[in-house]
Symmetry: C2
């Protein structure tokens, strides 16, 4: 029962449960049988109650069902909030006839409001009924908060099997961690140890390189579930993970094809997974709260990856650079400022080369700044800073800062 | 010749030199005789050319004249930019009949534009003529860039002498360093070693606790010049500096009165200097680009000052908190988020106490959030976060984030 829209033996649903005043606010993805799974969670010291239960459940390497509500993040809701997660996962498990330890619960929305327990419990009892009309788009809709659009990408593998990624996220996003919520489901078969290596490797080259506002959510969750229904077996051994971590960024299909200890199916899977996560990362960056432009920034010719990343993050998080990009202003002085404020990584100014899209910065050249300003007025901006110090590079994604970010966040809640 | 508006034997002027299309853009403060002096500069790895010369000149502990232009920061202008600073300080020194090494040159404005050499040189030749009509307010006006208002504070000391502080700064300000430009002149007598200790001690409790946007200027300069004309001798010995660093924050007059190794005059001087620097810090925070509110944030009952400061900076720089304050939204969930994202300083959530002005946060209490929202709608917001872990505290200053910040910075230059 493989079809082209989702991996085999997965069902999904999204509906209005009454947590938000209107719109879809409750979503479920369910596999017909237990999956090998791996998940990574927010590094924020205050975590949502679902994260506490999700960490416990994901630790076994087996998950079967993802339950997400939007409209209330169940953070800072006290022992009652945690108790409720245990209660509704049990209700959901009972209604689905599975072990409650196979459920990954997630919540996103306002922090510090009591969860409407009755609505959560009612929704969990309704799951089997709702899954009868499986609808992945409704799930993707239901997990949105300030997202302007649904974020999904699926790839059918030539070697068999399908990978589907669904994410949400627009604000409170900083590259020290996974994105807000991001789920990958697939019908290939891959062991949970391999998945654990793979999820870290891929996150580190995608969601962990994404910044909207430098803030860090209390609810971030990135999970991969593989149910094996396609009968294709995939691996990601230690030696592949080591080489993956060494690749320049972004990782190309040719890179993936050179991974050791793996067959062609596995390489295709890793390459497709990376494609999906990069696509979702870019979709989240482009949909950054109030954003009018996606920014892709590469810092290259650094002494080390660490140096490249520190400088890239200083630039991608700088409000003065974000506002300049919004204004299509080739304000390279602000780039110098942001490079120079990484106090422990001094860079000789005479080595620097700056490129916007195809256009190398050369302020002495007539019309150079005008051409770059014109380039910056598009909806996707690509920048490269060459440090001239070595061969390491890093790429990060972010967005511009607009009046709409301020409007959205000064008016959203309470 | 002590009068009430400025310390004795100092002159000042500000005029239009043509660096900006209109308005005052060139300012000078000049002492009739050489001053003991200390200065601290930006930590940005790319510094303006005036900073290079200023560091050299301030190293001697003697300065006599401060020369500032606005409209062009002379950063990233190559060897010509540095050459020009050496040239115009020599011209100014010759016109004033002093040693060029006694001049502190400063520039503020756009980065990466060639300086108009002829205008700088002409202005430097005009200095003695312009100083004939001494005018400190014109100086304060001339150093403004995006500042909405002039920032000055003077205190006449009961024990004799006068301290005058003049600052500018509105954006590209982050608490890892001094403010943009800040000058203190006084006619007390204090040796440059004592001044060196004092400037660091005071900056660390004022300008270094200030954040507008987390960005770090390439031109920051904070200097103190003391010409001794009032005949009052002041000290700030090592032992006083050590105790000063231990005081809780902000430092009270009673704290200053307990400083060891000092007479009453010295204590009054230190207390007044601290008052001036705090006032200037608050003026800069309140005038943060586009800001509608000043935020004073105290993190208390921390295990260490370092812990308090890390958490305070995470909060004061968070765009989600800055926009919530703008919207008068008591969004304490975002406070939890910002406390929790200091990954290496975990704080038990049950210990936290949050206060807005006089109002303790208690979301369970009817109208509590409404009362706090009402408090947040004022133009000054005071917040305290008690961590419940120890006895250390830190105070930082910042401002809200508004649509005007975005407008100003997306349209300012090139």
């Amino acid at each position: 029962m493989i079809d082209k829209d989702h991996p085999a033996d997965f069902l999904a649903a999204g509906w209005h449960s009454g947590i938000k005043p209107e719109g879809l606010d409750f979503g479920v993805i369910h596999s017909l049988h237990p999956c090998d799974a791996a998940a990574i969670f927010t590094r924020n010291n205050f975590v949502g109650n679902p994260i506490i239960v999700g960490r416990e459940n994901a630790a076994s390497g087996k998950l079967q069902t993802i339950i997400v509500n939007s409209g209330n993040s169940n953070v800072a809701t006290g022992p009652e909030g945690l108790q409720l997660v245990r209660q509704y996962t049990e209700v959901a498990a009972e209604s689905l006839g599975i072990d409650p330890g196979l459920i990954l619960p997630c919540s996103t929305g306002v922090i510090g409001r009591p969860m409407p327990a009755d609505r959560m419990l009612t929704a969990c009892r309704e799951i089997p009924e709702k899954l009868k009309q499986s609808d992945f788009l409704a799930f993707a809709e239901a997990i949105r908060t300030t997202d302007a659009y649904v974020k999904m990408r699926g790839i059918e593998l030539m070697s068999g099997g399908y990978i589907l990624g669904i994410a949400k996220g627009a604000g409170m996003i900083q590259p020290d961690m996974a994105t807000m919520l991001s789920y990958i489901i697939t019908d290939v078969s891959i062991g949970s140890a391999d998945l654990g290596r793979l999820i870290r490797a891929v996150a580190n080259r995608s969601f962990n390189r994404l910044s909207v506002d430098g803030d860090t959510s209390t609810s971030d969750t990135f999970a991969i579930l593989a149910n094996g229904a396609a009968g294709v077996h995939v691996r990601f051994p230690e030696e592949a993970a080591r080489m993956f971590a060494e690749f320049a960024h972004p990782i190309t299909p040719a890179d993936a094809a050179s991974l050791p200890g793996m067959n062609g199916q596995s390489r295709e899977f890793v390459s497709a997974l990376m494609d999906i996560c990069l696509t979702l990362t870019r979709l989240i960056a482009a949909d950054g709260e109030g954003a009018s432009k996606l920014i892709e920034l590469r810092v290259s010719k650094a002494q080390s990856r660490e140096q490249a990343l520190k400088i890239a993050r200083s630039i991608i998080n700088s409000p003065l650079i974000k506002t300049a990009v919004y204004g299509a202003d080739p304000n390279w002085g602000r780039l110098l400022m942001a490079i120079g404020k990484v106090f422990d990584e001094p860079v000789p100014i005479e080595n620097l080369k700056i490129r916007f899209g195809e256009h190398h910065l050369n302020p002495d050249e007539t019309d150079n700044l005008k051409i770059i300003s014109n380039y910056l007025s598009g909806s996707e901006v690509e920048m490269e800073i060459e440090l001239g110090l070595g061969n390491a590079s890093e790429t990060v994604w972010g967005c511009d800062l607009t009046e709409d970010y301020v409007r959205l966040n000064s008016m959203y809640t309470t």
